[in-house]
Each structure stands twice: as C-alpha cells, then as structure tokens.
Amino acid sequence: MWRFVARRLLHALPVLLGTTFLIYTLVFVLPGDPIQGLAGDKPVPPAVLAELRARYHLDDPLWIQYTHYLTGLLTGDLGTTFTGRRVSDLLADRWVVTLQLGLTAWVLEVILGMALGVWAGLRKGKWDDSVVLFGTTLVISVPVFVVGYMAQLVFGVQLGWLPVAGTEEGWPFAFLLPGLVLASFGLAYVARLTRSSLIENLRADYVRTAHSKGLSRRRVVVRHTLRNSLIPVVTFLGLELGGLMAGAIVTEYIFNLPGVGQQLFQSIQLREGPVVVGTTTALVLIFLLANLLVDLLYGLLDPRIRHD
C-alpha cells in the first residue's frame, strides 16, 4: 500500500509542476504584453509598467520567473489586486460558501444520479428507462447558466418553493436550488454511466452464477452487480470535483452566493487580471489535489489498481 501511495505522489508532482508552469507560461510569456493585458483597457504609464515588470520579474530568464511564481504559490501568495489587497485575503471568507455549494451539489449527484441510473438500468427498455435516458440527454445539452435561470424562474419566482438567491436562509435550504443546478450536468452523466455499467455487468457470468445459486434479486443487484458497476462512476465523481469548481463560477453568480466563483465572475467583468489568474490558479490546484486524493482512495477501494 505505501509503495502505491508513494508512486501516486511521485506521479502527481510533475503534473502539479507542469500545470502551474503551463498557466504561468501561457499568461505571462506568450506574445502580447501581459501587463497591458492584466490592466485591461486603460493605458499604463511607463513608470508603472517598469514597476510592474520588476514586481513580476518579467526581465529575468523564464525559469527564475517561474521559480518566483511557484514559491509565491507555495506560501499561499496568489498575487495582489490593483488596489493592493492580497488575492488570498480577498478569497479567505469566500471559500466556505463555495465549499458548501460544491458539497451540496456533489451529494445530490451521488444520491440522485446513482438512484436514477440504477432504476433505469434495472428497467432497461421500459418506458421509465426511456424517460431517464431522454431527460438526462436533454440536461447534458442545455448549458448550466440556462438551467440556472430557468430553475430560478420556475422554482424560485413562480412556485416560490425555494429561495431565489442569496444565502440568508443558511445551509442547506439556500443551497438546494443552486446545488441542484450546479449538479445537473454531472447528475445526468452519473445516471447514464451507472445505467450502462449496470446493464453491462448484469449480463456477466458471475451474476448468472449468483442468480442460479438461489440468491434473491435484491442481493444479487446490491451486493454483487452494483459493487462492480460503480468503479467508472467513482472515477467520474472524483474528476467531477474540478467540474464543480468551474461550474461554481456561473452558479454562484446567478444565485448571488458570495463564494469564490462569484468573486471570479466579478473580476472578469471588471477586467481585473491578477485576481482572475490568482483565483483560477487556486481552483486548479484544488482540483489537482482532489484528483490525487481520489486516486489514492480509488487504490484503497480496488485492489487491482493498487497492485498494478
């Protein structure tokens, strides 16, 4: 087991370095003046330009620039805003909201997605299977911001079941609707994945054996088939943490939740480059760490991967 963990960690290190290097190169080294880009539409006075070039070490060789950037990231320095505030301070009290939203969405994906998938898979070819299949395809094709506005309009304004926006009602009530919207894409995907994986496994020899030795249908499905069917689903749910981070930008904006995503959206609108770059980098790092964690858990769940 420890060898597996060590190998995964060694594997993750170049990915972490590579990804941060990629962001850095693409933002700061590609042709075009990054300072002008970060400043937006306003012209930059020469003195400010020189000061900024010095602050971002733009006149040093690339690898020194990158080392400065990386040490900054490691010490939690995500850069500063135009008004001189540290981006990490700006985000500090916003993480809670994003975490609550992300976890709500994730739990909804796990419970509803798997339940729908199992239901459809067990009733393959029947009318309710078709309804689930068609519904999930529809949800996957509608962009999340359209789903968001429609849900807000229907459940928030017209029916009045759930709060339209804001966090005044507290967790979990205020987070149910945005969580469902954020989860919609992944939920549909999980349902489809569970369904097809279950159908494939239900035809396996070991399932027939379990049936023929007289086990109840419930036991065959839950203990034997489902356990083997969930491996691709677990993989997707791990990767989905990153998708939720990206989706949170739109959802938090639509539902006016004061999280990291909303900050990112506002900074994009204000053309505040340093905040956008810093925030996005933080989200990408979280995504990578979550992936690493899932990878480790995955090895714990499935011995075939651990001993590979």
Partner: protein, 313 residues
C-alpha cells in the same frame, strides 16, 4: 511514397487480399461490414434523422446567414432602439433584442461562431490525437512516456477554468485565438483513447502477420491499425463537438470569450441575463438554438457508439 516501398507494399497488398476461401456461402447470408451494419442501424433511428436535420439547418444558417435572414424576416438588417426588448409578434417571431434588432436575424447570425469553434477545435484535437496516439501506442518507449506525462499536465487543467485564465490575459482575442486555446486544452481525452486503442491493436495477430510480410511501420499504422482503432475516437469526437460549443458559449457568457460587437449565442445570453425576469424571450431563443445544436451532436455520438459497439447488441 517512394519507389523503394513498392515491394513490401505489394506483399502487404497480397496479405490483405488473400485468395477467397472455398467456403460456399448462400448469397442471402452475405456478411455486411461493420460500417455497413452500423449505417443500417443508424438509418432506422428517428433520433438520428432529427439530429441530422437540425444540424443541416444550423449549417445552412452558419454558411448563409444573409440569405436566411432576408428570407425569414422583414427588415432583418434594420435596428430601431424604439423596438428594444419587444417580445415575439406576428412579423417578428422571436421579438427584438436590446438594440432593437430583429432577434431571429440575430440568432441566425450567432450560429456561425459556435459551429466553427465546435468543428475546428474537434478537428484539430482529432488530428493531434490520431498522430500522437498512433506514434505513442505503436513505438512506446521514451516518446510514449514523455507524451503521456504532457497529456497528464494538460488534462489537469479543467476546460472552462483553463480557458478563463489564459483568455483573460489577452483581451483582444478573436475566434481564432479561442479555437487555439480550446484545442490546447481539449486534445487530451481523445489522445488517451487513441493511444490505448493502438496499444491493444499493435500486438494483434493480423498486425504481426502484416509485419512479418514486410510491411513498414508507416503502412502498419495507417493501413492496418488506424481503421480498427479510430471508431471510439470518432464517437468521442462527435460528443466533443457538443461539449466545445457549450464551452464556447459559457466563455462568451462569462465575458472572457468573444467580445462585442461580435454576434454569438453566448454573447446574446450574456446580454439577456439582466432582463431574464421581464423579457424571457431574450434568454429562450439563443438557449434553444444552442441546446438543439449540442443535443444533436450528443445524439449522433450516442447513436454512433451504439451502432459501432458490438458488445451493446
């Protein structure tokens, strides 16, 4: 191909078309190829036809927006601020946008960037995936190790987040730059699939046979491995077109994608967001066209997967 390759090629040719075996098969049971089989199955599905018709309409709108707007609308080029945000009416089925332009005309004009982005990004990613997948899967070794690590790195950047961080640093980008960025972020999945397909096939008996008959690596890869490895990649590519179109619209909506005065569905949705409650038609129509396009590509991809995967039969 130069003349020196002729001889082994001829040998390969002979290996591919051996003399017909003496088994007598009644003509009624003639075996169809996988491709023909799949085509027969695809043809029988109404969803496939619906998707094809939708995409045909979208392509027409992308190719000739001028003709369609003048056909379908009266005064589609004419904008009057007095008409701003008016809802659907008899002469103007989609109503008017913020600037008082006919919304049907605007939505038709918004088709082109979405379709171009989706197709161009997917085509470029597919090309990268096929070339890298073939080379890495076939040769293995240090090349494979290097490319796999690079794939891991790019795979670590989520689509929308990665595009946001890059595009924000270059405010003056057009559609070309967006296609480039989305390709840079989007080639990894297909490359991984292609590579694992090629690895599985490179050791197959028929490939070994061709190799022993003297076929050279290029020929092995292109003539023998590629046709058998490409199907799952094509399916993912079809699904990918939808994903890219959706992603491009999301970036436009966020304000990091195309910028005014370009016309695109994402920008129309961005403009609509402030007026959703009072003027839902501003949100509804571009969202309808966008979703229909994405849905069509997903349906086609799903259908192709079912048709080409013998395990699902």
């Amino acid at each position: 191909m130069t003349d020196t390759t002729r001889a082994p090629e001829a040998a390969g040719e002979a290996a591919e078309h051996p003399a017909p075996p003496d088994t007598v098969r009644p003509p009624s049971q003639e075996r169809a190829s996988l491709g023909k089989d799949a085509w027969l199955e695809l043809r029988a599905r109404p969803t496939v036809w619906a998707a094809v018709v939708t995409l045909f309409l979208m392509t027409a709108m992308a190719l000739a927006p001028g003709i369609l707007t003048s056909l379908l609308t009266e005064g589609g080029d004419h904008c009057d601020l007095a008409d701003s945000k008016l809802g659907p009416s008899a002469g103007h089925p989609f109503g008017f946008d913020l600037q008082g332009c006919d919304y049907l005309a605007q939505v038709i004009r918004g088709t082109r960037p979405s379709l171009i982005a989706g197709l161009a990004v997917t085509a470029a990613s597919l090309l990268i995936a096929v070339v890298l997948g073939l080379l890495c899967g076939f040769y293995g070794g240090w090349l494979d190790a290097l490319v796999s690590r690079v794939t891991d790195v790019f795979f670590g950047l989520p689509f929308v987040l990665g595009a946001t961080v890059i595009l924000v640093a270059f405010p003056d980008h057009g559609l070309g730059a967006m296609i480039l960025v989305l390709t840079v972020l989007g080639w990894t999945t297909m490359t991984r699939i292609m590579r694992s397909q090629v690895i599985a096939l490179a050791d197959a008996d028929y490939v070994r046979a061709a190799r022993m008959l003297g076929a050279r690596p290029a020929r092995l890869m292109v003539r023998h491995i590629l046709p058998n490895a490409i199907t799952p990649v094509i399916v993912v590519a079809m699904l990918n077109v939808g994903a890219v179109i959706s992603g491009e619209a999301t970036l436009d909506f966020l304000g990091v994608g195309l910028q005014y005065p370009e016309v695109s569905w994402g920008l129309q949705l961005n403009a609509a967001q402030a007026f959703v409650l009072d003027h839902p038609h501003l949100l509804f129509f571009p969202a309808l066209f966008l979703s229909a396009t994405v849905l069509s590509f997903i349906l086609l991809g799903d259908a192709a997967r079912d048709a080409f995967d013998p395990r699902l039969k």
